[in-house]
Symmetry: C2
Amino acid sequence: MEVITRVAEMQARARQWRQEGKQVGFVPTMGYFHQGHLSLIRRAVQENDLAVVSVYVNPTQFGPQEDFHRYPRDLERDIRLAEEEGVHVLFAPSDAEMYPQGYQTYVEVTELTQGLCGARRPGHFRGVATVVAKLFHIVQPTRAYFGEKDYQQLRVVERMVRDLNLGVEIVPMPIVRESDGLAMSSRNVYLSPEERRAATVLYRAWKAAQEWVAQGERDAPRLREKVVRFIEAEPLARVDYVEIVDPLTLEPLERLEGEARLMLAAFVGSTRLIDNGPLTAT
Amino acid sequence: MEVITRVAEMQARARQWRQEGKQVGFVPTMGYFHQGHLSLIRRAVQENDLAVVSVYVNPTQFGPQEDFHRYPRDLERDIRLAEEEGVHVLFAPSDAEMYPQGYQTYVEVTELTQGLCGARRPGHFRGVATVVAKLFHIVQPTRAYFGEKDYQQLRVVERMVRDLNLGVEIVPMPIVRESDGLAMSSRNVYLSPEERRAATVLYRAWKAAQEWVAQGERDAPRLREKVVRFIEAEPLARVDYVEIVDPLTLEPLERLEGEARLMLAAFVGSTRLIDNGPLTAT
């Protein structure tokens, strides 16, 4: 495996691959790999001629009060894990390579970013869309892999790719969970042992919601209230949002009919966690 | 020459060319070709294996009170002229192809667009950057050709290409003028015969400014005032802006030292015209 840190070098390599007709799989990450990342990486290695993984903690998607500086990093471990999975190139650029002096261009997806994490984290999805567009231009992948854990991000990236004609196939991958249901996240390392136990409340709230739907609940605002109360019953948890939305438009629903998505964000202690899952009204 | 109207078809063709290692020259236009367009097209044909010209009057770069609906169009003539120049593909998509239902993604260059036409035409450069990014993704050119007539647009596109790592070489081309100095523009057809004569005031103002600089004028605000008075002395003309700016950052200058750019916009009758030219203080 090769580690590339220069944009120009990565882009030249990618251009060569495209000329050779190679299928390139790409997994953009912020590093500090867990089993969620590794599931994406394995799939990318498996179904393409070449796999590229980027490790870049993107400053433009963090708000000024957020955890950019303390976000967990361990590039040596990530390199070792990527190599073990058969990745061909790990791309780890610096901030100066990605956002040189005078940088001033941003990509905005205007509607899908209005609610949920977009409402709580102003500028977050602008940063995400911008860095993903840049990485796609640099790596020129055939396919790119995104976890459903960041469900709104997945929809935003899909929309950007379609709208800007980026010509990249977006492959969504299911959430990978710990044995007790907690969705894997690099931010889980922030949790104290008590908080770690309490953090399963998001998963349990989704399971409870599925059960309420199975029992016939079809009123989305009422179901939403039940989920809020369920989460708030956990003393260490504080709801950031609970929404029941259309899985494609992310618009809040009034009635549960067919497929819906339960979208959850909560603070456990001072750590903000997100989770989501399908709700199917049959 | 082939005329392509479908995005998917144009993109598949472009992908094939890139795999074959072809150099592709691209001239994005709003059609209604004049000699300015043709100078770009000739250069693109000359220095690439293949030349693509797009003809698309992009709605997102027009304000609600602007001339989108009456902008001059003559696709048959454009097709004939492009064919005569040896263009390989003329790409003429519909609005539904470029901005399908649910479209919501935009590219913004934040600083270069603050002044000049960006200040007078809110959203204009967002529309320009977005459509150029889309066209670059669809056509995947090696080089793209832009006229210096739209000088701020040229700087915005250059900045976007660098910031988003688009990997396209931007080739600036000099303004082509009528024999009396009027910069060629598709909008010149809006002018009545009297207005057409008055419209040379922009060119004459630039020539006068060059002369004042040659005579030793180095104070930019004072030179600016002289140019404003020169243009306003033409009864049919009304200044929209006169600015003396740094040619790269487009920031207004206080002193003329080295290279500067005189940026002009004026209404002649109800038609808004722009022009610009270098001012060199030696």
